[in-house]
């Protein structure tokens, strides 16, 4: 692998031990993955921000780096933590657990990380541009910035993202190269589906696509329109059920004005048809409706935008969440503040729902609640919560989620 003189000097330790160690990891990764050189990045985003992921090993690593004077070299943001920092007692987080998350926050702060505590940093303080090279982890954010913005990042692993942040570089392989961004598997929506594509079909379609393509690049044909939040929901689901890091939607995402452009030339002959039946099947797998009480409802995965907060507020206005059910809305502190100014927070909280700010059901220890049944509109939650929260999961539209919170039951309407 070719290294510049400046990079060789970093490896000689000229820029200090943290940079030397970090660049060494990146250079070895590059060699193992066939990179020819490094590429400079505009920003980084760190998944091992939560104590649930970082654990004591993460605290050791961050402490060592901080002692050696480590500072991030590019704009770097934090993924959700494992607690609601301002109100962790409300979520029954053990005090010693909360203290370890606070320790991680202090260490990241000392390295100069922007404490966004969100999986949607691309909406606030870490907004990439088309063509930017990045060093990001957090699968749902990686797939969004690659696909919807046209920025370029591989799915970095925890701590490798920090190596990128400390050096401002990543090895140039995978999705940094145009030839690896070409669509490989084409999905074609049935025409009756395309004209009547409901909001919650986006995460369902993402889940289905992820299951089929694994880590290949899928292309979706036939959708006429998609909002920012629908693209976010689609990508997060595909990155959970599979390892999708980039998708193209013809006519919607920036590298896919046509099918030919999405595929970088001649499209593959085969197209996978998707109709209402395929979507219904996948929604059954994600979590079929079964009658019975609902313990907890999770919306805002990935973290809710201000548009989603407005929608939740209007659905909850004048309503009351069932006394045996928790409705938790996940978002970040920036959206929370704005939603408070707009009066949405007051409406949501008056209905008895809680704001899970800076974390989510997946990242936060919820053992003390003994939840058995969770209802969600998120494909990512549907994939992970049966293990992370240990609950049975029901997948439903946002409206049906809020209805389940009000009635305390999951029922087919």
């Amino acid at each position: 692998m070719y290294l510049t003189d400046a990079e060789k000097r970093i490896l000689d330790g000229e820029s200090g031990e943290p940079q030397r160690l970090a660049l060494r990891v990146l250079a070895k990764l590059g060699e193992a993955c066939g990179a020819e050189r490094m590429v400079e990045i505009v920003s980084a985003h760190l998944v091992a921000s939560s104590y649930q992921i970082a654990g004591e090993a993460g605290i050791d690593i961050y402490s060592q780096l901080v002692q050696q004077g480590a500072k991030v070299k590019v704009r770097t943001t934090s993924d959700p933590g494992s607690i609601v920092f301002a109100r962790w007692q409300e979520f029954r987080t053990p005090a010693d657990y909360a203290a370890r998350q606070v320790k991680i926050a202090e260490l990241l702060d000392q390295m100069g990380v922007i404490p966004t505590w969100t999986c949607t940093p691309y909406t606030t303080f870490n907004v990439p541009r088309f063509g930017d090279h990045l060093g990001w982890s957090e699968s749902s954010a990686v797939v969004f910035v690659n696909s919807v913005i046209g920025a370029r990042t591989n799915r970095l692993a925890a701590y490798v993202d920090l190596c990128a942040a400390l050096t401002g570089r990543v090895p140039c392989f995978g999705l940094h190269l145009p030839e690896n961004r070409r669509g490989q598997v084409v999905f074609e929506l049935a025409s009756d589906l395309a004209t009547d594509f409901a909001d919650h079909y986006f995460p369902a379609l993402g889940y289905l696509v992820g299951q089929i393509v694994g880590d290949q690049v899928p292309v979706i044909m036939g959708l006429r329109h998609a909002t920012f939040d629908q693209l976010k929901a689609f990508g997060a689901a595909s990155a959970a059920s599979g390892s999708v890091a980039l998708y193209h939607m013809v006519g919607i995402t920036p590298e896919a004005r046509t099918l030919e452009e999405a595929c970088g030339g001649k499209p593959p002959g085969e197209r996978i048809p998707v109709g209402k039946r395929e979507l219904a099947n996948v929604m059954e797998q994600m979590g079929a409706f079964t009658d019975g009480p609902v313990d907890v409802v999770g919306i805002g995965c990935p973290h809710a935008s201000i548009d989603q907060m407005r929608r939740y507020a209007s659905l909850l206005d004048g309503k009351r969440v069932h006394p045996n059910t928790q409705l938790w809305v996940c978002t970040n502190v920036v959206v929370e503040e704005m939603a408070r100014k707009m009066g949405y927070v007051e409406t949501i909280e008056r209905a008895g729902a809680k704001l899970m700010v800076g974390t989510c059901h997946n990242d936060c220890p919820l053992g003390a609640w003994n939840f058995r049944r969770l209802v969600t509109d998120s494909g990512k939650f549907a994939y992970y919560t049966p293990t992370t929260v240990g609950t049975q999961c029901v997948f439903a539209s946002t409206e049906a989620c809020i209805q389940a919170a009000i009635t305390g039951k999951a029922e087919r309407s």
Partner: protein, 146 residues
Amino acid sequence: MSGRQHVLQGRGCAAGQFEGEVVVSRQSFGFWQGLDPQTGVVIDKRHDLCGAMIKGKAFAFPYGRGSTGTPGIFLEAVRNGCAPAAIINVKSEPMIIMCALLAEAFFKVAIPIVDGLDVPAQEALRTGDRVRIDGATGRIEILARA
């Protein structure tokens, strides 16, 4: 098993030396929610090795299933002395290679990784076989059969 080779040759993905027992699985594996980092026991209920101890052993599984949080669990296991001491894959994805690079960088523990063996580990090796692995050259020597 016919043609029992004593030496297998693959690609060295991460440097390091190992000599000891191998644990062989036919299923892909994800460390995130697959391994208990406090004990070194496989906890993924859907996995053929559920309940098996992989701590200190050479762990052969065909492919990784990698959440970006994978090194979180992996390094926690390394810190506790509960990680596998070598890894053999059909194809090693970047996520698993990153785990070994990080273990070496931050905990000074070398975990050799070899992939692309001339005869897949799932055919050439059985759980309990004793092997010697060189992660730099990709060479695996079979020392004793189980």
